[in-house]
Chain length 474, copies 2
C-alpha cells in the first residue's frame, strides 16, 4: 500500500531507543509478525517497530515524535480484535499498551475502578469481585483481551443484554492525542452535562482519534445468584422468534445467547467436552442466564420462560445444576468463535438488528448463503439482536471466496440495514468492514466523522486506513 | 451584544413567511419576550422572530435559509431549561419544535419508541406505560419539558441513579445540520460499533451542533411495585454520609433524593400541602424509592436501609402508605425548584461529584456561603452525587449579588472539581455557566470541542455564545 507516511529508518529507531530505552523498542521479525495480526481471518500486516511504553508520558513522547516525523502509529492491545483494527497496514509503529497493565485504584466508596489500558478484562473483573463489585461487560475473549481494546471497539459480550456495553461503564478517559498532548475527556461522575461528550466519542473510535492511557469505570454491586438454562429448538427460526417474546413478558435475562447447532457441536469437539447431549434434528439452542439477589425469583422467571417456549418445538430444557455445569456451558459458548476458526478459513460478520427482526435476518442469511453457495454458522447475543455470522471457506474455491463471498456479505449487510440494523454491533469496522460503511451511512455522515478525525489527528497518523471507506480514507 | 450575524430584516421575515406560511412565523413582542427566556434566573433575550415548523423538511428549509443568510438560530423546546440554553443572545431566529409533537410509533416488539422532539416527556412516559413499557428518565420538569430538550441537555432526574440519564436511552437521532442537510446519527439497535458515536456527540450539545427532529429511544418493561420512604436527619452531613453506605450495602434504589429542610418547607408552603410533619431540629431529609417486580423484596431492602441509618441521629422514618401519599411526596420533591424560585431571586448551580464526596461538598458549600455572605438551599439527586445548590438573593444588595456571589460560585465549582466532580450534572452549561468551563477543562480540551463545533457549524449560527467561554466563543 502506498503511504503518505515516513518509512521508518534506522535513525528513527535510534531516536526511539533514545526516548524509551532499548528494552522497550522491538524490531525482530518474529515479533513484528506477531504484532501485525489479531483474530481477524488470516490477515497479517507487520509493523516496522513495536514500542512498549510504561507510562502516559512515554506514550506522549512517542506520539510527539511520530507527529513531528509523520510516522503512522497503531495502538495495540491484546490482539484479540475481529475487524483487523490492529493491522499495521502502513508499516509504522505498533504502540503496545501491554506494559501499562496496572489497576491503579479500586474505589469501594464510589464503586469505581481506575485502571491502565493493558489490564486483561477478566483480571479486572476478578479483582473488583474480590471487593464484592461487578464489572459486567464480558466479551467472549475476556480471558485475554485488554480493557483498553474493549474501549477502542466498544466491546459488548453476553451480559450486554441486561447490563449494557463498554460505553455504559466508562466515566472518564485519559487520552494521548496524535501530537502528544494529554487530555481527560470528562469527570469521575455518574452524570455529566458539561460540554460535548468526548468520552463517548473516543469509545469505539478504534484508535483513530487518540490513545487511551487511563480509564475510570463505574462498577455495580455483585448479584448473589444466577440460573442458567439451555433450550434446544428443532427449528432455528423458532429459537430466534422466542427472543423478543421473553422481553415482552417483562423478563430481562442477564444473557440470552443464540447458537446454531453446528456452533455448539464444533465447540464441543474443539474443547473435547461432551457435557451436552443434543438430539438429532435440533437446529439451534438458546442459552439463557438470569441473575439477581433472590434465587427464588430467578427460578420463578426461569419457569416463566419455560412456559413461554412450550408452544414451540423444543427438546427438554437443561437447567445447569452446579457451578461446574454452568462453567462448562459458558466455556462452550465462549469457545465457539475459536472452534469455528480452527475448523476452516472463515470470515466473521457482526450484524445487529432490533431484536424482533432476528428471525428475518436469520432466514435472509441462509438464503443469501444458498444463492452464493457458501455455508454459514451463526451465533451471538440474540437478546441484543446481535448475530455473528461465520462464513466458512470449506468447499469453496479461492475464486469463489474472493469474488462471490464479498458480494454475499454486501447483501447480508444490505438486509441488516433494511431491517433498521447496522453492520457492526461490537466488533468494530477496522480494516475488513470499512468498504461496507457506505451501506450504514450517507456520505454526509461519513464526511462529518472524517472531519472529526481530522480535528483530532490533523496528519492522519493514528491507525490510518481504518473505519473509513477507501474513497474517503487517508 | 455585538454580533457577526445578519440582523433580521423585514425582507427576511417575508422570505420566511414564504417558506413556512404566515401561521408559522411570529413576530409580536409579547410572544418574542416569552420565547426569549427559560427557567434560568430572571434572564430574557428575545429573538427577532419565532418559527414553528411542523416537519423535518421545514426545519431543513429554515436552516438552509439561515445558513445562506448568516442568521443565528436557537432551537427552542418547552423553555424549562436551567442554564439559559434558549436565550436568544444574538436576536436571531427562535426555532420552536412545539408543533413537532407526535409520537410516531411505539414498537412493542422491540421495546422502542420513535418520536418527534416536541413531545412532553411525561406524555411520552404515560403513552408507553399504557403498553406496559417504561421510559425511566424523569426530570423534575417532566410535566412540561420536551423530550427534545432532554436530549439537548442530557437531562437526568430522580431515577437516573438506577436507570441512567437521557443518553442511556437514545438509540438514534435524526438531526438537521446548520446548513440544512439531514442526517441520522446511528441505527435503531441496542448495540452499535459502526463508526464514531455521533448520537452521543449530539446528546448534551445544547443545540450547538444541529437540531434534533426525530428520536428513537429504547424502553424497558415496567416494574410492578415501588416503595417510598422519607428519612429525616438531625444532621445534614449525616444524610449525605448515608448515601454511599446504601450502595455499598448492595442496594440500588430507583431514587435517592436529598433535600435540605428548607427546600421541603418551602415546597410545602408553595404547594399548600402539609402532608409531612417535620420536627424542629431536622436539617435534611432523604427521599428513597425502591422499585421492582417483587414487593416483598422491596420491603426487605427498605428494612435494610432502615437498619443502615439506625446509627445516625434521625427522626421516625415515614413509609408512604398509599399511592396518594407517594404522589404528595413526589409532588413536593418535584416542586422544590419552583418553590425556591418563587421565594427570592436566585442562582442555581448543578454540581456533581462522586457520591462519597457529597458530605465534603455540602460542608464546603456552606463554608463558602458564610465567607461570601450568601444563603444556599441545597437538594438533588444524592444517589448520583448530583447536588443542586440554590443561592438565594434575599438579604443581599445588588452589588453583593453581582460581585461577591460569582466569586463564591467559582469557589464552589473549584471545590467540586477538586473532589473529581464537574460543574454540571444534568442542567448543561448554556449561557450562565460557560465562563466557568475553564475550571472543568484544560484549554486543549475546550479547543477540541470548539473544533468539533466548527465541523458541524462552519458559520457558528447554531445557538451562538453558548457552552464555550467568552474568550473562545464565536
Amino acid at each position: 500500500m502506498e503511504s503518505v507516511f515516513s518509512k521508518i529508518t534506522l535513525e528513527h529507531i535510534a531516536d526511539l531507543v533514545d526516548l524509551l530505552g532499548k528494552e522497550n523498542v522491538w524490531t525482530d521479525n518474529e515479533l513484528l509478525y506477531e504484532y501485525g495480526k489479531d483474530q481477524t481471518e488470516d490477515l497479517v500486516f507487520p509493523p516496522a517497530v513495536v514500542l512498549k511504553p510504561r507510562t502516559t508520558l512515554e506514550v506522549s513522547k512517542i506520539m510527539s515524535y511520530a507527529y513531528k516525523n509523520s510516522i503512522a502509529v497503531v495502538a495495540v492491545g491484546a490482539r484479540t480484535g475481529l475487524s483487523g483494527g490492529v493491522l499495521n497496514v502502513c508499516t509504522g509503529i505498533a504502540l503496545s499498551l501491554e506494559r501499562m497493565n496496572k489497576i491503579i485504584e479500586i474505589d469501594e466508596n464510589n464503586l469505581q475502578v481506575r485502571t491502565q489500558p493493558g489490564v486483561v478484562t477478566q483480571v479486572l473483573q476478578d479483582q473488583v469481585l474480590e471487593k464484592g463489585l461487578f464489572y459486567p461487560v464480558d466479551p467472549a475473549s475476556r480471558g485475554s483481551c485488554f480493557i483498553g481494546g474493549n474501549i477502542a471497539e466498544n466491546a459488548g459480550g453476553a451480559r450486554a443484554v441486561k447490563y449494557g456495553v463498554t460505553k455504559d461503564y466508562v466515566l472518564n478517559l485519559e487520552v494521548v492525542l496524535a501530537d502528544g498532548q494529554i487530555i481527560w475527556t470528562g469527570s469521575d461522575t455518574l452524570k455529566n452535562a458539561t460540554g460535548y461528550n468526548l468520552t463517548q466519542l473516543i469509545i469505539g473510535s478504534e484508535g483513530t482519534l487518540g490513545i487511551v492511557t487511563q480509564i475510570v469505570l463505574r462498577l455495580i454491586p455483585k448479584n448473589n445468584h444466577d440460573v442458567l438454562m439451555l433450550i434446544p429448538f428443532y427449528k432455528m427460526g423458532e429459537a430466534a422468534e422466542v427472543v423478543s417474546t421473553i422481553f415482552k413478558a417483562g423478563i430481562i435475562p442477564s444473557a440470552l445467547e443464540f447458537m446454531e447447532r453446528e456452533a455448539i457441536d464444533w465447540a464441543m469437539r474443539f474443547m473435547q467436552v461432551d457435557g451436552v447431549n443434543i438430539k438429532d434434528g435440533i437446529e439451534a439452542l438458546l442459552l439463557i442466564e438470569l441473575d439477581g439477589n433472590y434465587l427464588e425469583i430467578l427460578i420463578e422467571e426461569a419457569e416463566k420462560i419455560a412456559e413461554l417456549v412450550e408452544g414451540f418445538k423444543i427438546d427438554d430444557i437443561l437447567f445447569a445444576e452446579s457451578a461446574d455445569q454452568k462453567e462448562v456451558l459458558w466455556r462452550l459458548r465462549r469457545s465457539v468463535a475459536e472452534a469455528v476458526k480452527s475448523n476452516s478459513v472463515f470470515k466473521e460478520e457482526d450484524t445487529v438488528v432490533p431484536r424482533y427482526e432476528l428471525p428475518k435476518l436469520l432466514v435472509g442469511v441462509k438464503q443469501i448463503g444458498s444463492k452464493y453457495g457458501f455455508k454459514t454458522v451463526c451465533y451471538g447475543h440474540a437478546g441484543d439482536g446481535n448475530l455473528h455470522i461465520n462464513i466458512i471457506k470449506e468447499g469453496l474455491t479461492d475464486e469463489q471466496w474472493e469474488k462471490d463471498v464479498p458480494n454475499g456479505i454486501r447483501e447480508i449487510f444490505e438486509l441488516t440495514v433494511s431491517l433498521k440494523g447496522t453492520i457492526s454491533g461490537e466488533h468494530g469496522i477496522g480494516w475488513v468492514q470499512k468498504n461496507y460503511m457506505n451501506l450504514a451511512f450517507q456520505p454526509i455522515e461519513l464526511e462529518l466523522m472524517k472531519k472529526i478525525k481530522n480535528v483530532f489527528d490533523t496528519k492522519g497518523i493514528l491507525n490510518p486506513h481504518k473505519i473509513f471507506p477507501d474513497d474517503i480514507s487517508n
